[in-house]
Symmetry: C2
Subunit: 197 residues, 2 copies
């Protein structure tokens, strides 16, 4: 069976399997055997390609982050106004692709693990910084600095909170509701007061 050039395929399959497994179990307490089994290979092979379990988990998280970032870049490119930039960032976080229960469960599990793992904590910090700067790119032109800062923090917290809530009760709130909540928050902000405050 062994053909050459399997490495990238196997790695991808293992990462996908990891997300799936974590999503179903709802935690990082997934065995290498289960992940490997899902990917159709032996656990030894998973170790062969990733080394330790932690490395596989880190690679998985890095993958999620990369995907999210790619989506965000795309969405931001299409935005024409500052407000549209903010909406775009929000929309991406609740898009079909990102707001799926497996993905969310994985995020949540990684958040928890980050309290233990230096490496994961670093990755999450990168994510947090990117989210913040993406939000600020839309908010800064619309609000005085301090208020823009606060709005960015609020939206970020709102996103995290809605993710958690979604992870818990299965399916609620759905993506549309989540977006509506954040948009309602935006609608109440005193936008366009940058100079005046």
């Amino acid at each position: 069976m062994p053909k050459v050039g399997m490495q990238p395929l196997r790695r991808k399959a293992l990462i996908d399997a990891t997300i799936l497994a974590i999503g179903e179990r709802g935690s990082l307490d997934v065995t290498m055997s289960e992940i490997a089994g899902r990917a159709g290979v032996s656990s030894a092979l998973a170790h062969h390609y990733f080394g330790a379990k932690d490395d596989l988990l880190e690679a998985t998280m890095r993958y999620l982050l990369t995907e999210l970032n790619a989506d965000a870049r795309l969405a931001l490119r299409a935005a024409q106004t500052p407000l549209q930039r903010v909406s775009a960032v929000v929309a991406v976080n609740f898009s079909e692709k990102q707001f799926r229960s497996e993905t969310i469960a994985a995020w949540l599990a990684f958040y928890v693990e980050a309290q233990k793992s230096q490496a994961l904590r670093r990755l999450l910090r990168v994510y947090a910084r990117r989210l913040h700067s993406n939000l600020m790119s839309g908010l800064a032109p619309l609000l005085p600095p301090a208020q823009a800062e606060r709005a960015a923090e609020t939206i970020a917290a709102l996103i995290d909170g809605l993710y958690i809530r979604r992870a818990l009760r299965d399916g609620l709130p759905d993506a549309a509701t989540a977006v509506a909540l954040v948009e309602a928050y935006l609608a109440n902000l005193p936008l366009g007061t940058k100079g005046r405050a």
Copy 2:
């Protein structure tokens, strides 16, 4: 050493130790031995008083929930106006006692575990419902039903989100900042429009 009437003391000590241990590890991957050790007893005794590990974890979570609820009741009793009720609920969630890193880490860990455990999920649902109804008791007199509903959801999500963010980077945002964020959200709501919308 064995005196009589140890049961309640041991149980309390074990629950405290559990919170401490989870808070430090940042996850529920804490051994019975470590918990027991912290409480100054053997792991066998922990099993003696709580049965399985899951039971101890459940009892711990129930304890956190009870404490939070007691605090909320007290705070609500002091509130005079609807808006004060909302602020009181928010304040309790970010109070010195609740917004401590161990407590928060424990909450977060329980959130994750709830995806696996039926029992924990049930407990969290109780918490969610109580929070919601507490918030609504203040919001309902101030906003049209749909908007009050949405505001309650938003505040609840904000609280969860701020908890998560606090758990991750150690200490940020602090309690005062967290409260300020939520209060700023409240300040922008079109309160007092109950009849008009």
